[in-house]
């Protein structure tokens, strides 16, 4: 039996090659391209007007809510994967346990929905 690490060797190599390719393109471009920065060129685009203040402003809390929802539902979805793989062995008992788990997920979704956290504009 071969080591379970074997399939990860090509993955590591693909990751490395992807990184190398990604690094090579800007490097070559850096060699080929001219470099003549000027104040006008590096001006930030803001609809043609002079930029006002810093762009790094504070953002609405709704983004934060979406991120929190995402984490919780992502974790729940990931928990469904081991179940899906073992489904044929676990049978109806496994189905019942999963249904309970999924029911909590639905309760969470309904709660969030009723609270209005899903409407982007509120």
């Amino acid at each position: 039996m071969e080591s379970p690490l074997t399939p990860y060797v090509p993955v590591a190599i693909v990751l490395f090659l992807a990184g190398a390719m990604a690094a090579a393109i800007p490097f070559i471009a850096g060699l080929l391209g001219p470099r003549s920065p000027s104040a006008v060129k590096s001006e930030i685009f803001e609809g043609g007007n002079p930029p006002i203040g810093s762009a790094r402003q504070r953002f609405a809390v709704k983004f934060y809510v979406v991120a929190l929802l995402f984490i919780v539902f992502d974790v729940e979805a990931v928990f469904l994967y081991p179940w899906a793989v073992n489904f044929q062995q676990l049978g109806w008992f496994g189905y019942a346990t999963m249904a309970v788990f999924a029911a909590t997920l639905v309760v969470a979704l309904v709660y969030v929905w009723k609270k209005g956290a899903l409407s982007w504009e509120s």
Partner: protein, 171 residues
């Protein structure tokens, strides 16, 4: 040293360096980038420990989801400020004491562990069987550890409610 051990040290050193970057970098976004790097190197260590599923989930949930949450929290705050500057020296002393205590506890625990070669690195694939595969994980999680698993769903429900309550209060 076997290839696994060499890789372990590479990942371990990289993890610690990246984690150092998280707390040492001045720019909060640079901290966040270091955190992503830390997560990736940790995933590498998980792979070496034959915990494939955990490694994939590490990238999917931590590098993907947790990271985004941190970014959005950063965007809630004003990044143009330098942030709270620690002037109160009592806090610093408390911090140093806490670090030393935790470190001492860790060293004590590690010294008590029996010297044993990791099963994953023994090269004894037959003894491991399908350990670490998602099939094995699911088979154990949905039978032996069913109750904690269902408890997690309640925990996640509580987390959702908490998130909505906190966020809606601040709108």
């Amino acid at each position: 040293m076997s290839a696994e051990q060499v890789l372990f040290w590479v990942f371990a050193v990289a993890t610690v360096v990246a984690a150092g970057g998280v707390i040492l970098a001045r720019n909060p976004i640079a901290c966040a980038m270091s955190l992503v790097a830390t997560f990736f190197f940790l995933a590498g260590i998980y792979v070496l420990l034959w915990a494939h599923t955990i490694a994939a989930v590490q990238v999917l949930v931590y590098a993907g989801a947790i990271m985004v949450l941190f970014l959005f929290v950063l965007m809630l705050m004003s990044l143009s400020d330098q942030g709270p500057v620690m002037t109160f020296s009592a806090w610093r002393i408390a911090g140093v004491v806490a670090v030393v205590t935790v470190l001492a506890a860790l060293v004590l625990v590690f010294r008590r562990l029996p010297a044993q070669e990791s099963l994953a690195w023994s090269g004894d694939a037959a003894r491991l069987g399908d350990f670490g595969t998602i099939k094995h994980l699911g088979a154990v999680m949905y039978t032996q550890w069913l109750f904690p698993f269902e408890a997690v769903s309640l925990l996640l429900l509580v987390a959702i409610v908490g998130a909505v309550v906190v966020a809606k209060a601040r709108v």
